[in-house]
């Protein structure tokens, strides 16, 4: 069953350094004293907090609900008490805080009621929803919500489902160990994804330096699903990039501007497939992940860590050596330095590497680009990194886009081989985030322009209406002036006094009618207000609800002075800016 393999262009072969961390099986990391579970752990919308300080939660309870289609839920990793929902430093290169739920474990680790489902008996939309609500995201590092990748393109039949077990980053072994130990679950999980996508073929790509993992997967596939193919791919960084693996296994090239489903192929990481299986077949949402602890440590190993565990406690498990200067999250090629070890382990934390000056010597100073072309030779996306570098450096962002900067996957091959030690990827990241920022600004400016124009149009319209009203009033007055002459005669005539009585009566009548009308209008407004369910209040955080209760209490306590009631009546109609006359 030898498949024809394709090659991707470029790539490098760095020292893999993987053997040190695969000597021992995956171990369960102890629960920390406090868990800091960030609500926003995936790409897409930030989930809304569903708990507040003081609540008790059970293991697996939903604490953050997905806020949009591209978003994934977040759950309590263990049972305990919520101490706060507050800003806590994030596992992010910036070291900035993000909204997190702080949980104090009670040590009982009590589950919520787990409801295993049979995915075959459910419609595909429902399965996707279940995956979203179980918080299943890409665990290879990108953390893209998986359910959003599970819709086949309408016009193109799904040909291949690629399962990514390549794990090309040096040092990292979490997927390797997962495949060795939990191959059955992975293979069963693949069945779910295959059905959702209706894929004709399943290809499991594993780099050929992981013979044990290949053997374990092979064995599981033979037993459970003999038509899947386990393919050993040549070890070459970045063979584990989704696009590279797709290229190697199917020969298809996915450009940045298109989705891979449009080419009839989709790619998932083995760990993602595993969590999807746990989510559906066991009813267990994503509460933990396998993290490789390696580098300059006494005990490199893979640990199953509860999400939200502070990294400080996690790295202590591996006993970093004394000369460790910093820690990297992710691999040495694509990872970043962790700015603060208080940051928690999140769904994207696949590997933590203790770095020492001996292991990763500080980069020599940047020297001028000599245009040797080495970077272009190794770029797996056939870009021209030196051109991108020139333009990024000169902040000529339009040109970088002409040279396809968004096709760059930031794999770091170019920086790795650059003889002038130029940190090319840093320049590309800088350029990309500047371009995004400009895009956001542009959108805001367009929206502002539109609002400004609408406002001007409204002002004009209102002025025109007012002028028309005035004109109508003026014409009415002139016609009234023409009418009176007959009446003036009548004023001093005696019958007029008698006529005064009924007129007065009519006036009081009119007054009464008007009053009744006002009362009726107020009653109507009140009824309407009671009926109307404001749309934006059904998913309030606990804190907001408390604030609202406080405001209501204050309102209730206020004396019902005429002014206050008038104000309250006024609030019935939503007086937006258009009221400002």
């Amino acid at each position: 069953m030898l498949a024809q393999l394709f090659r991707f262009k470029g790539g490098v072969k760095p020292q893999t350094n993987k053997t040190i961390s695969v000597q021992e099986p995956i171990a369960q990391a102890p629960l920390p004293a406090r868990l800091f579970v960030p609500l926003h752990q995936s790409i897409g919308g930030a989930p809304n907090p569903l708990v507040q300080a003081g609540d008790t939660v059970r293991k697996g309870q939903l604490i953050g609900g997905a806020d949009a289609w591209v978003s994934a839920a977040v759950h309590a990793p263990t049972s305990g008490r919520v101490l706060a929902v507050e800003e806590h430093v994030a596992a992010h290169p910036s070291g900035l805080p993000t909204l997190s739920v702080v949980i104090e474990p009670d040590g009982r680790d009590e589950w919520i009621e787990r409801r295993p489902v049979d995915h075959q008996s459910l419609p595909p939309e429902r399965v996707r929803e279940l995956l979203r609500d179980a918080g299943v995201v890409g665990l290879g590092g990108a953390a893209f919500p998986s359910h959003a990748k599970l819709t086949p393109a309408r016009s193109v039949a799904m040909e291949q489902l690629v399962i990514n077990g390549a794990e090309c980053e040096p040092f990292m072994t979490c997927d390797d160990m997962l495949m060795r130990e939990r191959a059955d679950e992975i293979v069963r999980g693949i069945a779910i994804f295959r059905e959702l996508l209706a894929a004709r073929e399943v290809l499991i790509g594993i780099e050929d330096n992981k013979q044990e993992a290949i053997a374990a997967m092979h064995e599981a596939v033979l037993r459970l699903a003999p038509d899947y193919r386990v393919v050993a791919v040549p070890t070459r960084y970045p063979a584990g990039g989704a696009k590279q693996l797709i290229r190697v296994l199917t020969g298809k090239e996915v450009p940045a501007s298109r989705r891979s489903t449009e080419l009839g192929v989709q790619c998932f990481n083995v760990a993602t497939v595993y969590t999807a299986y746990r989510a559906l077949a066991c009813g267990e949402p994503v509460l933990s992940r396998i993290v490789t602890l390696t580098g300059n440590v006494e005990r490199p190993r893979n640990w199953e860590v509860s999400l939200g565990t502070p990294m400080r406690e996690v790295v202590a498990l591996a006993r970093p050596r004394a000369d460790t200067g910093s820690f990297l999250m992710g691999g040495p090629m694509m990872g970043f330095e962790i700015p603060d070890l208080d940051a928690p382990v999140v769904k994207a934390t696949n590997c933590i590497i203790a770095a020492s000056p001996g292991l990763f010597p500080p980069p020599p100073p940047e020297m001028p680009c000599i245009r040797c072309g080495a970077c272009a030779e190794v770029c797996p996306h056939e870009l021209q990194p030196f051109e991108l570098y020139w333009f990024s450096r000169a902040r000529n962002f339009g040109k970088t886009q002409e040279y396809y900067i968004f096709d760059c996957i930031e794999c770091g091959c170019c920086s790795y081989v650059c003889p002038s030690h130029i940190p090319l990827v840093q320049y590309f990241r800088f350029a990309k985030s500047e371009i995004w920022a400009r895009e956001r600004e542009k959108q805001a400016a367009d929206a502002a322009k539109e609002r400004f124009e609408l406002r001007n149009a409204r002002a004009e319209r209102e002025q025109a209406e007012k002028a028309e009203r005035l004109a109508r009033a003026a014409s009415a007055r002139t016609s009234e002036k023409k009418a009176p002459p007959e009446r003036t005669n009548a004023v001093d005539s005696p019958p007029a006094a008698a006529a005064g009585e009924p007129a007065a009566a009519a006036a009081t009548d009119a007054d009464a009618i008007r009053k009744a009308a006002i009362a009726a209008a107020m009653a109507r407004a009140r009824a309407q207000r009671e009926l109307a369910q404001p749309k934006n209040t059904d998913r309030l955080s606990a804190e907001q609800e408390r604030e609202i209760a406080a405001v209501e209490a204050r309102r209730g306590a206020q004396p019902a002075t005429p002014e206050a009631t008038a104000g309250a009546a006024g609030s019935g109609a939503p007086a937006g800016p258009q009221r400002g006359e």
Binding site: P365, Q426, R440, R451, L454, R455, G567, G570, P577
Partner: protein
């Protein structure tokens, strides 16, 4: 000779007709240059340039009445882009550049006078007479026009803080070590 003249004349008539038709059929609505200039301006609509909004300023630039360095929210970046577009010299900005800000209403102090609502060019303030007002942050352009009208001075401008969503990778810089 006559045929040559006739052919040339006929050619002239046909081509002239085609050009005339094209100029009517493909007439460009509005002034494309003004639109290009306006696309560069930040749409803050603050009037700091001395014109009542970005579009009038764009029209003034295009008519050659205004200089290109009058828009403080656009910053030097904006001046550079305008210079590029119009082939003019880059000039230093007339005013100082400020970090991007948004307005915040101190809701305890607000008396509900609605004056700020009337000042805001982009309808970014929500409120009603004698009710507390508030600013819809994502819509605020930071034009400062609402600050002055407030009779109780409860509106302040605050720089936009960096957060995970708007954080940017920094330009790579390296410390130059002194030779030993």
């Amino acid at each position: 000779m006559i045929t040559a003249l006739a052919i040339m004349a006929l050619g002239a008539i046909v081509l002239g007709a085609a050009l005339g038709y094209a100029s009517i059929r493909f007439k460009v609505e509005g002034d494309p240059l003004v639109e290009k200039i306006e696309a560069i301006l930040p749409q803050t609509q603050c009037g700091q340039c001395g014109y009542p909004g970005c579009k009038p300023y764009a029209a003034a630039i295009s008519a050659g009445e205004a200089d290109i360095n009058l828009c403080p929210p656009g910053g030097m970046d904006g001046v550079r882009k305008l210079a590029d577009l119009l082939g003019r010299e880059v000039k230093p900005l007339e005013a100082e550049e400020k970090p991007k800000q948004i307005a915040i209403i101190d809701e305890q102090t607000c008396i509900g006078c609605t004056l700020c609502i009337q000042a805001c060019p982009v309808d970014a303030i929500l409120g009603a007479a004698k009710q507390m007002h508030t600013i819809i942050e994502p819509l605020c352009t930071g034009c400062e026009l609402c600050v002055k009208p407030c009779p109780v001075e409860c509106i302040s401008m605050q720089p936009i803080a960096e957060n995970i969503d708007n954080w940017k990778w920094k330009y790579p810089v390296f410390e130059i070590k002194r030779a030993a």
